[in-house]
Amino acid sequence: MTQSKFRLFLRNNKGFLFILPWLIGFLVFKMYPFFNSLYYSFTKYNLMKAPAWLGLDNYIRIFTKDKDFVPSLLVTLRYVILVVPIKLLLALLVAMLLNRTSWVMNFFRTIYYLPSIVGGSVAVAMIWRVLFSETGVVNAFIGTFGIQAQTWLSPSLALFTISLLNIWTFGSTMVLFLAALKGIPKDLYEAAAVDGVPRLTVFFRITLPMISSIIFFNLLMALVNAFQEFNSALLITGGGPLKSTYLYGYMLYDNAFVSYKMGYACAQSWILFAIILVLTIVIFKTSDKWTYYDDGGDF
């Protein structure tokens, strides 16, 4: 390449130079481990010895022999079904309550956002354990209403209890909803008011369609995060009791860092990736039926 051609190349691709630090980080710390894990998923690898090629053995074993795989996947699905809708509804509800102009609202916005900052931390998980213990605050609170104390970490309630930890961190979802709500043109509401449209109809016909693109985004993010949940199971319940909170992410950790079956864990993580990918594609494909974009929605 002559010097002038090189200059031309630089001039035309200046943009890449600006994102180069990110690009290098992305390639080294994301793409390389990503594809490397695909390779490991076809091997027996315990970190200490070099990986030994197994072909499809890990995958076959997961689907035919692993007695934890299906139950853990079902627990995770239950967790996703529990967390995602409640989190989105709660975030939307609070966002609508906070969508007013008053200095008090700024204060509340901060308060509701706080759990998102401290949410998944170890300290909070510890507090969760104390709150939900037999003699904890939660039982004392419901006791004031005459409700009998519950064993919150029993096999039937444990998943619900750890779900609350995720739902509690609805702050960032709420902020996005709030921004979307603020973006709805006022004249739409004014026109509805002039026509005397009932509030509920306004919500379903104006508000929801106008924020549908953000609902779509939040749904996707909540779904992906819920499928990968790990902290709460590790810190609060250790996957128990009776594996009722043995989430997929926790099973992965168990195989990778407790049993040092890295190859096997990589195979399991690729199966999780495939599941999330399929769900994402389905949501994407159906989204143009129920999302509305001001600009027509062309990416």
Binding site: N46, M48, K49, S133, L153, I236, G238, L242, S259
Partner: protein, 427 residues
């Protein structure tokens, strides 16, 4: 000009002599360990003494809590970036040994003095395939802590030594007298990693799982242990599993224990000082003899006494000699021993231990635990380290028993079979 030349010559000569004067080049080595504030302070003091004794070796200390320590260590060893001396918990050594990631200390016996260490301890716990891959930081005793006041106040008779069966009977009495009180404070790990091997070793003697990954006990022995747990739950000797699991990571932080509603806890003497900090406990807790079978029933009444942890030199270290010098100093130097006291449990070095004892530097609780445990101490570790899968299988069944999903009689043979499969997998 002549003057200049002679000056130049003199300078050159000086330069040539310089390396000889500084024969021992300054070297910096890294040393990583985990622990609490007390251990950190004591270890830093010992390092200070080391640097005074060996001015050419500078030690960079890398320390923190236990959480995530092994994950970090494994990653560092694999990446060849681990410190020159590492403290290793021992439970995952197997994995590292098979990859030969630790240095054979036999090559450094001219630096590390092992004469004050029990040779059987070194053979059982530190030697693999003839390679001495670690040195024990200290020996620990299995410490049984008993809230004597709780038992006495509720009219429970306290025997000289608890047996597995008298514990069940006493549990019933205690819980009847005080429905909030339970006999044993245990975590799942206590049940799978400590009580299980102890029960089996006492029952059948010797080894639980041998180094060829074969079980040396029968399905009946396993069923007997699971039945004992089942009986303990039935007698309300153990808290309900849903409450118990909240403190699986740290049973001694269970508020029922600190609040005087749990009668007996167990811990290693290595972590003893971390737990008996509570004013209430200090007043009411006694160190008592560990339980066993009644005389004549079991094959022996041993308690496993593994080293508290180990010092190792990762194979990738570039300063193995200096690392060995540090290990030797930490374990053999009397002043270093005094500085460290019992922060890594009782020193495995008999000479250092007798100095500490003579100078009253051993905590009374730990001393009592060792006094009770020593005659019953079993050096044989019973199970190869790193058998996490076996523990997982056992934990699954114990939990099912706790929730009444399966009886111990049904669980025993099934669990035995699954442990067999898990062992075949490890092989």
């Amino acid at each position: 000009m002549k003057k200049f030349l002679s000056l130049l010559l003199a300078a050159l000569m000086l330069l040539a002599v310089m390396p000889a004067v500084h024969a021992e080049e300054p070297v910096t080595i890294r040393f990583s360990w985990w622990g609490d504030a007390v251990r950190h302070e004591a270890t830093l003091k010992a390092i200070e003494l080391f640097e005074q004794a060996y001015p050419n070796i500078h030690v960079e200390a890398e320390y923190g809590g236990w959480d995530g320590y092994t994950d970090k260590l494994t990653t560092q060893i694999m990446g060849g970036t681990a410190a020159d001396v590492v403290q290793d918990g021992g439970h995952f050594q197997t994995y590292i040994i098979y990859g030969a990631q630790y240095t054979d200390l036999n090559d450094y016996l001219d630096i590390i003095d092992t004469s004050h260490f029990s040779q059987s301890l070194l053979e059982s716990y530190c030697t693999v395939n003839g390679q001495l891959i670690s040195m024990p930081t200290g020996v620990q005793a299995w410490t049984t802590l008993q809230n004597t006041s709780l038992l006495e106040d509720n009219g429970v008779e306290i025997p000289q030594r608890w047996t597995w069966d008298t514990l069940v009977e006493a549990s019933k009495k205690l819980h009847e007298a005080d429905p909030e009180a339970y006999m044993l404070n245990v975590s799942m790990e206590t049940m799978t990693n400590w009580l299980f091997p102890m029960y089996i070793q006492q029952k059948v003697g010797g080894t639980v799982i041998n180094n060829d990954y074969e079980m040396e006990f029968t399905a009946e022995d396993l069923t007997a242990y699971l039945t004992w747990l089942e009986d303990m739950w039935a007698a309300n000797g153990l808290q309900g599993r849903s409450e118990q699991l909240l403190y699986d990571g740290s049973p001694l932080e269970n508020p029922k224990w600190n609040g005087g509603k749990l009668a007996i806890s167990m811990c290693s003497s290595a972590s003893y000082s971390w737990y008996v900090y509570d004013e209430y406990l200090k007043e009411h807790i006694d160190v008592v003899d560990c339980f066993s079978f009644p005389e004549g029933e079991g094959d022996n009444d041993t308690i496993v006494v593994p080293p508290a942890s180990f010092y190792n030199i990762p194979a990738a270290s570039e300063h193995k000699k200096e690392a060995a010098t540090l290990i030797n100093f930490l374990l053999n130097d009397l002043d270093a021993g005094r500085a460290q006291g019992t922060v890594r449990s009782l020193p495995a070095n008999s000479e250092v231990l007798s100095v500490l004892q003579a100078e009253n530097l051993v905590d009374a609780g730990i001393a009592r635990a060792v006094e009770l445990g020593s005659p019953r101490a079993c050096i044989n570790r019973g199970t190869p380290t790193g058998l996490n899968e076996v523990q997982n299988v056992l934990a699954d069944y114990i939990e099912q028993i706790a929730y009444g999903q399966i009886t111990a009689a049904e669980a025993g043979p099934q669990c035995y079979e699954e442990i067999q499969e898990a062992l075949e997998d490890v092989q």
